[in-house]
Symmetry: D2
Subunit: 138 residues, 4 copies
Protein backbone atom coordinates (compact mmCIF):
# COMPACT_ATOMS: atom_id res chain seq x y z
CA UNK A 1 0.00 0.00 0.00
CA UNK A 2 2.95 2.23 0.41
CA UNK A 3 5.20 4.35 -1.78
CA UNK A 4 2.21 6.64 -2.19
CA UNK A 5 2.47 9.82 -0.13
CA UNK A 6 -0.26 10.62 2.43
CA UNK A 7 -0.95 13.94 0.71
CA UNK A 8 -1.42 12.23 -2.66
CA UNK A 9 -3.97 9.86 -1.16
CA UNK A 10 -5.90 12.72 0.43
CA UNK A 11 -5.82 14.87 -2.71
CA UNK A 12 -7.22 11.89 -4.60
CA UNK A 13 -9.94 11.50 -1.91
CA UNK A 14 -10.80 15.19 -1.88
CA UNK A 15 -11.17 15.16 -5.65
CA UNK A 16 -13.90 12.48 -5.41
CA UNK A 17 -15.59 13.78 -2.25
CA UNK A 18 -18.57 15.85 -3.39
CA UNK A 19 -19.81 16.71 0.09
CA UNK A 20 -16.41 17.89 1.35
CA UNK A 21 -16.31 20.02 -1.81
CA UNK A 22 -19.75 21.44 -0.98
CA UNK A 23 -18.41 22.26 2.49
CA UNK A 24 -15.45 23.97 0.71
CA UNK A 25 -12.96 22.12 2.87
CA UNK A 26 -9.32 23.13 2.37
CA UNK A 27 -6.36 20.93 3.25
CA UNK A 28 -3.89 22.63 5.59
CA UNK A 29 -1.57 19.76 6.53
CA UNK A 30 -1.49 16.04 5.84
CA UNK A 31 0.91 13.56 7.43
CA UNK A 32 0.75 9.82 8.11
CA UNK A 33 -2.24 9.29 10.39
CA UNK A 34 -2.80 13.03 10.70
CA UNK A 35 -4.82 15.74 8.99
CA UNK A 36 -5.57 19.41 9.51
CA UNK A 37 -8.32 20.98 7.41
CA UNK A 38 -10.50 24.08 7.46
CA UNK A 39 -13.78 25.49 6.17
CA UNK A 40 -15.99 28.57 6.62
CA UNK A 41 -19.57 28.40 7.93
CA UNK A 42 -22.10 29.72 5.40
CA UNK A 43 -25.72 30.86 5.79
CA UNK A 44 -27.04 27.64 4.21
CA UNK A 45 -25.37 25.65 7.03
CA UNK A 46 -27.37 26.98 9.97
CA UNK A 47 -30.04 25.23 12.00
CA UNK A 48 -33.26 26.70 13.37
CA UNK A 49 -31.34 28.69 16.00
CA UNK A 50 -29.26 30.42 13.27
CA UNK A 51 -26.04 28.80 14.45
CA UNK A 52 -24.10 26.10 12.61
CA UNK A 53 -26.09 22.84 12.41
CA UNK A 54 -24.41 20.13 14.51
CA UNK A 55 -24.16 18.05 11.35
CA UNK A 56 -21.89 20.64 9.73
CA UNK A 57 -19.38 20.56 12.59
CA UNK A 58 -19.58 16.76 12.66
CA UNK A 59 -19.07 16.60 8.89
CA UNK A 60 -15.89 18.66 9.03
CA UNK A 61 -14.51 16.44 11.81
CA UNK A 62 -15.61 13.29 9.96
CA UNK A 63 -13.75 14.41 6.83
CA UNK A 64 -10.66 15.09 8.96
CA UNK A 65 -11.02 11.54 10.34
CA UNK A 66 -11.31 10.08 6.82
CA UNK A 67 -8.27 12.02 5.60
CA UNK A 68 -6.20 10.89 8.61
CA UNK A 69 -7.22 7.23 8.81
CA UNK A 70 -7.02 6.49 5.07
CA UNK A 71 -3.84 8.31 4.15
CA UNK A 72 -1.54 5.29 4.43
CA UNK A 73 -3.56 4.06 1.43
CA UNK A 74 -5.29 1.40 3.57
CA UNK A 75 -9.01 1.85 2.92
CA UNK A 76 -10.69 2.39 6.31
CA UNK A 77 -14.35 2.82 7.20
CA UNK A 78 -15.67 4.80 10.15
CA UNK A 79 -17.43 2.61 12.71
CA UNK A 80 -18.31 4.74 15.72
CA UNK A 81 -18.02 8.48 16.10
CA UNK A 82 -18.93 10.71 18.96
CA UNK A 83 -18.87 14.46 19.32
CA UNK A 84 -19.21 16.89 22.20
CA UNK A 85 -20.42 20.33 21.22
CA UNK A 86 -18.63 22.93 23.34
CA UNK A 87 -19.43 26.34 21.89
CA UNK A 88 -21.82 27.93 19.40
CA UNK A 89 -20.56 28.37 15.87
CA UNK A 90 -21.84 31.27 13.78
CA UNK A 91 -22.09 32.15 10.12
CA UNK A 92 -18.73 33.46 8.96
CA UNK A 93 -16.75 31.47 11.52
CA UNK A 94 -13.69 29.72 10.16
CA UNK A 95 -13.35 26.24 11.60
CA UNK A 96 -10.17 24.19 11.71
CA UNK A 97 -10.26 20.47 12.46
CA UNK A 98 -7.11 18.63 13.49
CA UNK A 99 -7.15 14.82 13.54
CA UNK A 100 -4.50 12.97 15.54
CA UNK A 101 -4.01 9.23 15.69
CA UNK A 102 -4.57 7.66 19.09
CA UNK A 103 -4.24 4.05 17.94
CA UNK A 104 -3.10 2.54 14.65
CA UNK A 105 -4.01 -1.13 14.82
CA UNK A 106 -3.92 -3.70 12.06
CA UNK A 107 -7.72 -4.04 11.91
CA UNK A 108 -8.90 -0.88 13.61
CA UNK A 109 -7.80 2.66 14.39
CA UNK A 110 -8.87 5.40 16.81
CA UNK A 111 -8.56 9.14 16.19
CA UNK A 112 -9.20 12.27 18.21
CA UNK A 113 -10.34 15.36 16.35
CA UNK A 114 -10.38 18.85 17.86
CA UNK A 115 -12.34 21.61 16.13
CA UNK A 116 -11.41 25.25 16.75
CA UNK A 117 -12.81 28.57 15.53
CA UNK A 118 -10.81 31.52 14.18
CA UNK A 119 -10.32 32.83 17.74
CA UNK A 120 -8.59 29.56 18.64
CA UNK A 121 -11.49 28.56 20.88
CA UNK A 122 -12.32 24.85 20.84
CA UNK A 123 -15.90 24.36 19.60
CA UNK A 124 -16.05 20.55 19.50
CA UNK A 125 -14.22 17.39 20.51
CA UNK A 126 -14.75 14.32 18.30
CA UNK A 127 -13.51 10.74 18.72
CA UNK A 128 -13.82 8.23 15.90
CA UNK A 129 -12.89 4.62 15.31
CA UNK A 130 -12.43 2.91 11.96
CA UNK A 131 -12.13 -0.58 10.55
CA UNK A 132 -9.25 -1.21 8.14
CA UNK A 133 -10.20 -3.22 5.05
CA UNK A 134 -6.65 -3.84 3.82
CA UNK A 135 -7.61 -2.63 0.33
CA UNK A 136 -5.81 0.26 -1.39
CA UNK A 137 -7.53 3.51 -2.31
CA UNK A 138 -5.23 4.26 -5.25
CA UNK B 1 -44.16 26.75 27.51
CA UNK B 2 -47.17 24.73 26.71
CA UNK B 3 -50.38 25.16 24.76
CA UNK B 4 -48.24 25.10 21.62
CA UNK B 5 -48.46 21.82 19.73
CA UNK B 6 -45.27 19.82 19.10
CA UNK B 7 -45.93 19.92 15.35
CA UNK B 8 -46.24 23.72 15.40
CA UNK B 9 -42.90 24.04 17.17
CA UNK B 10 -41.20 21.75 14.65
CA UNK B 11 -42.75 23.47 11.63
CA UNK B 12 -41.48 26.75 13.03
CA UNK B 13 -38.01 25.20 13.48
CA UNK B 14 -37.97 23.66 10.02
CA UNK B 15 -38.89 27.00 8.49
CA UNK B 16 -35.73 28.59 9.98
CA UNK B 17 -33.39 25.62 9.50
CA UNK B 18 -31.46 26.28 6.28
CA UNK B 19 -29.35 23.16 6.42
CA UNK B 20 -32.31 20.81 7.02
CA UNK B 21 -33.90 22.53 4.03
CA UNK B 22 -30.76 21.88 1.95
CA UNK B 23 -31.01 18.23 3.00
CA UNK B 24 -34.66 18.36 1.84
CA UNK B 25 -35.86 16.85 5.09
CA UNK B 26 -39.59 16.05 5.25
CA UNK B 27 -41.55 15.68 8.47
CA UNK B 28 -43.39 12.35 8.72
CA UNK B 29 -44.61 12.37 12.31
CA UNK B 30 -44.14 14.66 15.30
CA UNK B 31 -45.31 13.91 18.83
CA UNK B 32 -44.16 15.06 22.26
CA UNK B 33 -40.53 13.97 22.60
CA UNK B 34 -40.68 12.11 19.29
CA UNK B 35 -39.96 12.77 15.64
CA UNK B 36 -39.88 10.80 12.41
CA UNK B 37 -38.37 12.46 9.35
CA UNK B 38 -37.01 11.48 5.94
CA UNK B 39 -34.70 12.61 3.13
CA UNK B 40 -33.15 11.27 -0.07
CA UNK B 41 -29.40 10.98 -0.64
CA UNK B 42 -28.19 13.08 -3.58
CA UNK B 43 -24.97 12.97 -5.59
CA UNK B 44 -23.62 16.09 -3.86
CA UNK B 45 -23.81 14.23 -0.53
CA UNK B 46 -21.26 11.49 -1.23
CA UNK B 47 -17.74 11.11 0.16
CA UNK B 48 -14.64 9.90 -1.68
CA UNK B 49 -15.97 6.32 -1.77
CA UNK B 50 -19.13 7.46 -3.59
CA UNK B 51 -21.36 6.51 -0.66
CA UNK B 52 -23.20 8.93 1.63
CA UNK B 53 -20.75 11.01 3.69
CA UNK B 54 -21.02 10.08 7.37
CA UNK B 55 -21.88 13.70 8.08
CA UNK B 56 -25.04 13.44 5.99
CA UNK B 57 -26.38 10.50 7.98
CA UNK B 58 -25.38 12.22 11.21
CA UNK B 59 -27.08 15.44 10.10
CA UNK B 60 -30.38 13.70 9.44
CA UNK B 61 -30.26 12.03 12.86
CA UNK B 62 -29.21 15.29 14.52
CA UNK B 63 -32.20 17.10 12.98
CA UNK B 64 -34.46 14.30 14.24
CA UNK B 65 -32.94 14.82 17.70
CA UNK B 66 -33.54 18.58 17.54
CA UNK B 67 -37.16 18.11 16.43
CA UNK B 68 -37.81 15.59 19.22
CA UNK B 69 -36.04 17.31 22.12
CA UNK B 70 -37.32 20.85 21.41
CA UNK B 71 -40.92 20.14 20.56
CA UNK B 72 -42.32 20.80 24.03
CA UNK B 73 -41.19 24.38 23.29
CA UNK B 74 -38.33 24.11 25.80
CA UNK B 75 -35.23 25.25 23.95
CA UNK B 76 -32.68 22.42 24.20
CA UNK B 77 -29.11 22.23 22.94
CA UNK B 78 -27.32 19.04 21.89
CA UNK B 79 -24.39 18.22 24.18
CA UNK B 80 -23.03 14.82 23.18
CA UNK B 81 -23.94 12.72 20.18
CA UNK B 82 -22.60 9.40 19.04
CA UNK B 83 -23.33 7.37 15.95
CA UNK B 84 -22.57 3.84 14.83
CA UNK B 85 -22.50 3.36 11.07
CA UNK B 86 -23.98 -0.04 10.22
CA UNK B 87 -24.44 -0.17 6.49
CA UNK B 88 -23.40 1.75 3.36
CA UNK B 89 -25.84 4.33 2.07
CA UNK B 90 -25.95 5.06 -1.66
CA UNK B 91 -27.14 7.90 -3.87
CA UNK B 92 -30.88 7.58 -4.34
CA UNK B 93 -31.44 5.87 -0.99
CA UNK B 94 -34.34 7.22 1.03
CA UNK B 95 -33.45 7.50 4.69
CA UNK B 96 -35.91 7.66 7.57
CA UNK B 97 -34.80 8.74 11.05
CA UNK B 98 -36.97 8.04 14.07
CA UNK B 99 -36.12 9.73 17.37
CA UNK B 100 -37.49 8.31 20.61
CA UNK B 101 -37.11 9.79 24.05
CA UNK B 102 -35.14 7.70 26.52
CA UNK B 103 -35.08 10.27 29.29
CA UNK B 104 -36.91 13.56 29.75
CA UNK B 105 -35.24 15.27 32.68
CA UNK B 106 -35.70 18.82 33.87
CA UNK B 107 -32.19 19.91 32.86
CA UNK B 108 -31.21 17.24 30.38
CA UNK B 109 -32.70 14.71 27.98
CA UNK B 110 -31.48 11.60 26.17
CA UNK B 111 -32.74 10.37 22.81
CA UNK B 112 -32.13 7.31 20.66
CA UNK B 113 -32.37 7.75 16.90
CA UNK B 114 -32.55 4.84 14.44
CA UNK B 115 -31.90 5.48 10.74
CA UNK B 116 -33.32 3.10 8.15
CA UNK B 117 -33.12 2.92 4.34
CA UNK B 118 -36.02 2.31 1.94
CA UNK B 119 -35.55 -1.47 2.34
CA UNK B 120 -36.16 -1.10 6.08
CA UNK B 121 -32.55 -1.98 6.82
CA UNK B 122 -31.02 -0.07 9.74
CA UNK B 123 -28.05 1.98 8.50
CA UNK B 124 -27.15 3.83 11.69
CA UNK B 125 -27.83 4.03 15.42
CA UNK B 126 -27.44 7.45 17.06
CA UNK B 127 -27.68 8.47 20.71
CA UNK B 128 -27.82 12.11 21.72
CA UNK B 129 -28.11 14.09 24.93
CA UNK B 130 -29.29 17.65 25.29
CA UNK B 131 -29.31 20.41 27.86
CA UNK B 132 -32.62 22.20 28.48
CA UNK B 133 -32.37 25.98 28.74
CA UNK B 134 -35.90 26.58 29.99
CA UNK B 135 -36.44 29.25 27.30
CA UNK B 136 -39.28 29.02 24.77
CA UNK B 137 -38.69 28.69 21.04
CA UNK B 138 -41.93 30.41 20.07
CA UNK C 1 -18.07 -22.26 15.45
CA UNK C 2 -21.52 -23.58 15.75
CA UNK C 3 -23.25 -26.57 17.30
CA UNK C 4 -22.46 -25.01 20.66
CA UNK C 5 -25.47 -23.39 22.29
CA UNK C 6 -25.34 -19.68 23.20
CA UNK C 7 -26.09 -20.51 26.84
CA UNK C 8 -23.21 -22.99 26.97
CA UNK C 9 -20.81 -20.35 25.67
CA UNK C 10 -21.98 -17.81 28.23
CA UNK C 11 -21.88 -20.27 31.14
CA UNK C 12 -18.31 -21.06 30.14
CA UNK C 13 -17.51 -17.32 30.02
CA UNK C 14 -19.17 -16.60 33.36
CA UNK C 15 -17.19 -19.42 34.98
CA UNK C 16 -13.89 -17.69 33.99
CA UNK C 17 -15.02 -14.11 34.57
CA UNK C 18 -13.78 -13.14 38.03
CA UNK C 19 -15.08 -9.58 37.95
CA UNK C 20 -18.59 -10.56 36.84
CA UNK C 21 -18.50 -13.04 39.72
CA UNK C 22 -17.47 -10.27 42.11
CA UNK C 23 -20.43 -8.26 40.83
CA UNK C 24 -22.58 -11.37 41.52
CA UNK C 25 -24.09 -11.22 38.06
CA UNK C 26 -26.85 -13.75 37.38
CA UNK C 27 -27.87 -14.92 33.92
CA UNK C 28 -31.59 -14.45 33.24
CA UNK C 29 -31.84 -15.22 29.51
CA UNK C 30 -29.34 -15.98 26.76
CA UNK C 31 -30.18 -16.26 23.08
CA UNK C 32 -28.15 -15.79 19.90
CA UNK C 33 -26.90 -12.20 19.95
CA UNK C 34 -28.91 -11.42 23.09
CA UNK C 35 -28.41 -11.48 26.85
CA UNK C 36 -30.36 -10.45 29.92
CA UNK C 37 -28.53 -10.42 33.24
CA UNK C 38 -28.97 -8.95 36.71
CA UNK C 39 -27.08 -7.93 39.85
CA UNK C 40 -27.68 -6.11 43.14
CA UNK C 41 -25.82 -2.95 44.15
CA UNK C 42 -23.80 -3.38 47.35
CA UNK C 43 -22.28 -0.87 49.77
CA UNK C 44 -18.76 -1.48 48.41
CA UNK C 45 -19.95 -0.32 44.96
CA UNK C 46 -20.79 3.29 45.82
CA UNK C 47 -18.91 6.45 44.85
CA UNK C 48 -18.32 9.54 46.96
CA UNK C 49 -21.99 10.56 46.66
CA UNK C 50 -23.14 7.22 48.14
CA UNK C 51 -24.83 6.16 44.89
CA UNK C 52 -23.63 3.41 42.57
CA UNK C 53 -20.28 4.30 40.95
CA UNK C 54 -20.72 4.85 37.21
CA UNK C 55 -18.19 2.09 36.65
CA UNK C 56 -20.50 -0.44 38.31
CA UNK C 57 -23.41 0.33 35.98
CA UNK C 58 -21.03 0.34 33.00
CA UNK C 59 -19.54 -2.99 34.10
CA UNK C 60 -22.93 -4.69 34.24
CA UNK C 61 -23.78 -3.40 30.75
CA UNK C 62 -20.34 -4.35 29.45
CA UNK C 63 -20.78 -7.92 30.72
CA UNK C 64 -24.19 -8.03 29.00
CA UNK C 65 -22.47 -6.87 25.81
CA UNK C 66 -19.79 -9.57 26.12
CA UNK C 67 -22.39 -12.28 26.75
CA UNK C 68 -24.44 -11.17 23.73
CA UNK C 69 -21.67 -10.57 21.19
CA UNK C 70 -19.64 -13.70 21.96
CA UNK C 71 -22.40 -16.26 22.31
CA UNK C 72 -22.23 -17.56 18.74
CA UNK C 73 -18.77 -18.79 19.86
CA UNK C 74 -17.03 -16.16 17.69
CA UNK C 75 -14.57 -14.43 20.00
CA UNK C 76 -15.36 -10.70 19.89
CA UNK C 77 -13.61 -7.79 21.57
CA UNK C 78 -15.28 -4.55 22.64
CA UNK C 79 -13.98 -1.54 20.69
CA UNK C 80 -16.07 1.48 21.63
CA UNK C 81 -18.67 1.78 24.35
CA UNK C 82 -20.72 4.73 25.44
CA UNK C 83 -23.16 5.14 28.27
CA UNK C 84 -25.72 7.75 29.24
CA UNK C 85 -26.54 7.85 32.93
CA UNK C 86 -30.25 8.57 33.38
CA UNK C 87 -31.09 8.06 37.03
CA UNK C 88 -29.33 7.57 40.36
CA UNK C 89 -28.81 4.00 41.51
CA UNK C 90 -28.76 3.23 45.22
CA UNK C 91 -27.44 0.47 47.46
CA UNK C 92 -29.90 -2.40 47.43
CA UNK C 93 -31.18 -1.62 43.92
CA UNK C 94 -31.52 -4.64 41.64
CA UNK C 95 -30.30 -3.82 38.15
CA UNK C 96 -31.22 -5.74 35.01
CA UNK C 97 -29.27 -5.25 31.77
CA UNK C 98 -30.71 -6.38 28.46
CA UNK C 99 -28.44 -6.49 25.41
CA UNK C 100 -29.98 -6.56 21.95
CA UNK C 101 -28.13 -6.89 18.67
CA UNK C 102 -28.39 -3.91 16.35
CA UNK C 103 -25.92 -5.19 13.77
CA UNK C 104 -24.26 -8.57 13.31
CA UNK C 105 -21.54 -8.06 10.72
CA UNK C 106 -18.78 -10.43 9.71
CA UNK C 107 -16.03 -8.26 11.21
CA UNK C 108 -17.92 -6.08 13.62
CA UNK C 109 -21.12 -5.95 15.65
CA UNK C 110 -23.16 -3.27 17.41
CA UNK C 111 -25.32 -3.77 20.50
CA UNK C 112 -27.69 -1.63 22.50
CA UNK C 113 -27.95 -2.31 26.23
CA UNK C 114 -30.70 -0.92 28.45
CA UNK C 115 -30.28 -1.01 32.23
CA UNK C 116 -33.36 -0.93 34.47
CA UNK C 117 -33.86 -0.91 38.24
CA UNK C 118 -36.32 -3.04 40.22
CA UNK C 119 -39.07 -0.44 39.65
CA UNK C 120 -38.65 -0.90 35.89
CA UNK C 121 -37.18 2.58 35.55
CA UNK C 122 -34.40 2.88 32.99
CA UNK C 123 -31.19 4.00 34.71
CA UNK C 124 -28.76 3.85 31.77
CA UNK C 125 -28.52 3.43 28.01
CA UNK C 126 -25.33 1.84 26.66
CA UNK C 127 -24.19 1.29 23.07
CA UNK C 128 -21.20 -0.90 22.29
CA UNK C 129 -19.37 -2.08 19.20
CA UNK C 130 -17.11 -5.10 18.93
CA UNK C 131 -14.57 -6.57 16.55
CA UNK C 132 -14.98 -10.25 15.65
CA UNK C 133 -11.72 -12.24 15.68
CA UNK C 134 -13.12 -15.38 14.02
CA UNK C 135 -11.61 -17.53 16.80
CA UNK C 136 -13.74 -19.87 18.93
CA UNK C 137 -14.15 -19.44 22.66
CA UNK C 138 -14.77 -23.13 23.35
CA UNK D 1 -17.75 27.37 46.46
CA UNK D 2 -14.16 28.42 46.56
CA UNK D 3 -11.43 28.82 49.15
CA UNK D 4 -11.35 25.03 49.35
CA UNK D 5 -8.37 23.50 47.56
CA UNK D 6 -8.97 21.00 44.75
CA UNK D 7 -6.89 18.38 46.59
CA UNK D 8 -8.99 18.80 49.75
CA UNK D 9 -12.18 18.23 47.78
CA UNK D 10 -10.78 15.09 46.16
CA UNK D 11 -9.39 13.69 49.42
CA UNK D 12 -12.84 14.17 50.92
CA UNK D 13 -14.39 12.40 47.90
CA UNK D 14 -11.90 9.54 47.99
CA UNK D 15 -12.59 9.01 51.69
CA UNK D 16 -16.30 8.37 50.93
CA UNK D 17 -15.83 6.46 47.66
CA UNK D 18 -16.01 2.77 48.56
CA UNK D 19 -15.59 1.48 45.02
CA UNK D 20 -12.52 3.63 44.27
CA UNK D 21 -11.15 2.26 47.54
CA UNK D 22 -11.85 -1.31 46.38
CA UNK D 23 -9.98 -0.47 43.16
CA UNK D 24 -7.13 0.79 45.41
CA UNK D 25 -6.93 4.04 43.48
CA UNK D 26 -4.07 6.35 44.49
CA UNK D 27 -4.05 10.08 43.86
CA UNK D 28 -0.96 11.24 41.95
CA UNK D 29 -1.82 14.85 41.13
CA UNK D 30 -4.87 17.06 41.58
CA UNK D 31 -5.27 20.55 40.14
CA UNK D 32 -8.29 22.66 39.21
CA UNK D 33 -10.17 20.68 36.55
CA UNK D 34 -7.44 18.07 36.40
CA UNK D 35 -6.64 14.73 38.04
CA UNK D 36 -4.03 12.02 37.66
CA UNK D 37 -4.61 8.75 39.50
CA UNK D 38 -3.35 5.17 39.38
CA UNK D 39 -4.26 1.60 40.33
CA UNK D 40 -2.99 -1.96 39.79
CA UNK D 41 -5.02 -4.65 38.05
CA UNK D 42 -5.72 -7.64 40.31
CA UNK D 43 -6.83 -11.20 39.52
CA UNK D 44 -10.39 -10.47 40.72
CA UNK D 45 -10.69 -7.79 38.04
CA UNK D 46 -10.40 -10.01 34.95
CA UNK D 47 -13.10 -11.01 32.49
CA UNK D 48 -13.59 -14.38 30.82
CA UNK D 49 -10.53 -13.81 28.59
CA UNK D 50 -8.29 -13.32 31.65
CA UNK D 51 -7.61 -9.70 30.78
CA UNK D 52 -8.90 -6.66 32.68
CA UNK D 53 -12.70 -6.38 32.42
CA UNK D 54 -13.65 -3.31 30.38
CA UNK D 55 -15.60 -2.09 33.40
CA UNK D 56 -12.39 -1.87 35.45
CA UNK D 57 -10.66 0.38 32.94
CA UNK D 58 -13.84 2.46 32.60
CA UNK D 59 -14.15 2.73 36.40
CA UNK D 60 -10.63 4.10 36.78
CA UNK D 61 -11.28 6.69 34.05
CA UNK D 62 -14.68 7.53 35.55
CA UNK D 63 -13.11 8.16 38.96
CA UNK D 64 -10.52 10.40 37.26
CA UNK D 65 -13.41 12.28 35.64
CA UNK D 66 -15.21 12.68 38.98
CA UNK D 67 -12.04 13.93 40.71
CA UNK D 68 -11.39 16.45 37.90
CA UNK D 69 -14.89 17.78 37.35
CA UNK D 70 -15.85 18.13 41.03
CA UNK D 71 -12.67 19.58 42.44
CA UNK D 72 -13.75 23.23 42.27
CA UNK D 73 -16.29 22.12 44.90
CA UNK D 74 -19.16 22.41 42.40
CA UNK D 75 -21.04 19.10 42.59
CA UNK D 76 -21.13 17.66 39.07
CA UNK D 77 -22.78 14.50 37.78
CA UNK D 78 -21.56 12.45 34.81
CA UNK D 79 -24.03 12.49 31.92
CA UNK D 80 -22.43 10.72 28.97
CA UNK D 81 -19.21 8.79 28.87
CA UNK D 82 -17.57 6.92 26.04
CA UNK D 83 -14.45 4.80 25.95
CA UNK D 84 -12.32 3.30 23.20
CA UNK D 85 -10.36 0.23 24.25
CA UNK D 86 -6.95 0.30 22.54
CA UNK D 87 -4.86 -2.44 24.10
CA UNK D 88 -5.26 -5.47 26.37
CA UNK D 89 -4.63 -4.93 30.05
CA UNK D 90 -3.26 -7.80 32.14
CA UNK D 91 -3.17 -8.74 35.81
CA UNK D 92 -0.31 -6.88 37.45
CA UNK D 93 -0.46 -3.94 35.04
CA UNK D 94 -0.28 -0.53 36.66
CA UNK D 95 -2.72 1.87 35.06
CA UNK D 96 -2.53 5.65 35.20
CA UNK D 97 -5.51 7.80 34.22
CA UNK D 98 -5.04 11.49 33.47
CA UNK D 99 -8.14 13.69 33.17
CA UNK D 100 -7.85 17.04 31.40
CA UNK D 101 -10.57 19.65 31.07
CA UNK D 102 -11.73 20.34 27.53
CA UNK D 103 -14.60 22.64 28.48
CA UNK D 104 -15.58 24.23 31.78
CA UNK D 105 -19.05 25.64 31.26
CA UNK D 106 -21.42 27.05 33.84
CA UNK D 107 -23.91 24.18 33.49
CA UNK D 108 -21.81 21.48 31.87
CA UNK D 109 -18.22 20.35 31.45
CA UNK D 110 -16.33 18.02 29.12
CA UNK D 111 -13.21 16.06 30.01
CA UNK D 112 -10.79 13.83 28.11
CA UNK D 113 -9.18 10.99 30.03
CA UNK D 114 -6.20 9.01 28.75
CA UNK D 115 -5.31 5.69 30.40
CA UNK D 116 -1.75 4.36 30.15
CA UNK D 117 -0.04 1.20 31.39
CA UNK D 118 3.36 0.98 33.15
CA UNK D 119 5.14 0.85 29.78
CA UNK D 120 3.59 4.22 28.90
CA UNK D 121 1.39 2.62 26.23
CA UNK D 122 -2.09 4.12 25.95
CA UNK D 123 -4.70 1.44 26.70
CA UNK D 124 -7.88 3.53 26.52
CA UNK D 125 -9.26 6.93 25.56
CA UNK D 126 -12.31 8.16 27.47
CA UNK D 127 -14.44 11.26 26.98
CA UNK D 128 -17.00 12.30 29.58
CA UNK D 129 -19.47 15.14 30.04
CA UNK D 130 -21.00 16.29 33.29
CA UNK D 131 -23.82 18.48 34.51
CA UNK D 132 -22.98 21.04 37.22
CA UNK D 133 -25.53 21.26 40.02
CA UNK D 134 -24.14 24.40 41.64
CA UNK D 135 -24.15 22.68 45.06
CA UNK D 136 -21.00 22.35 47.16
CA UNK D 137 -19.49 19.00 48.08
CA UNK D 138 -17.93 20.23 51.30
Amino acid sequence: MNNIKPLSVVEHMMHQDSFSQWLKIELLEIKEGYSKIKMMVRQEMVNSFQVAHGGIIFSLADSALAFACNNRNNLSLALDCNISFLKQVNVGDELTAEATEVHNGRSTGVYSIAVFNQHNQQVALFKGSCFRTGKSLI
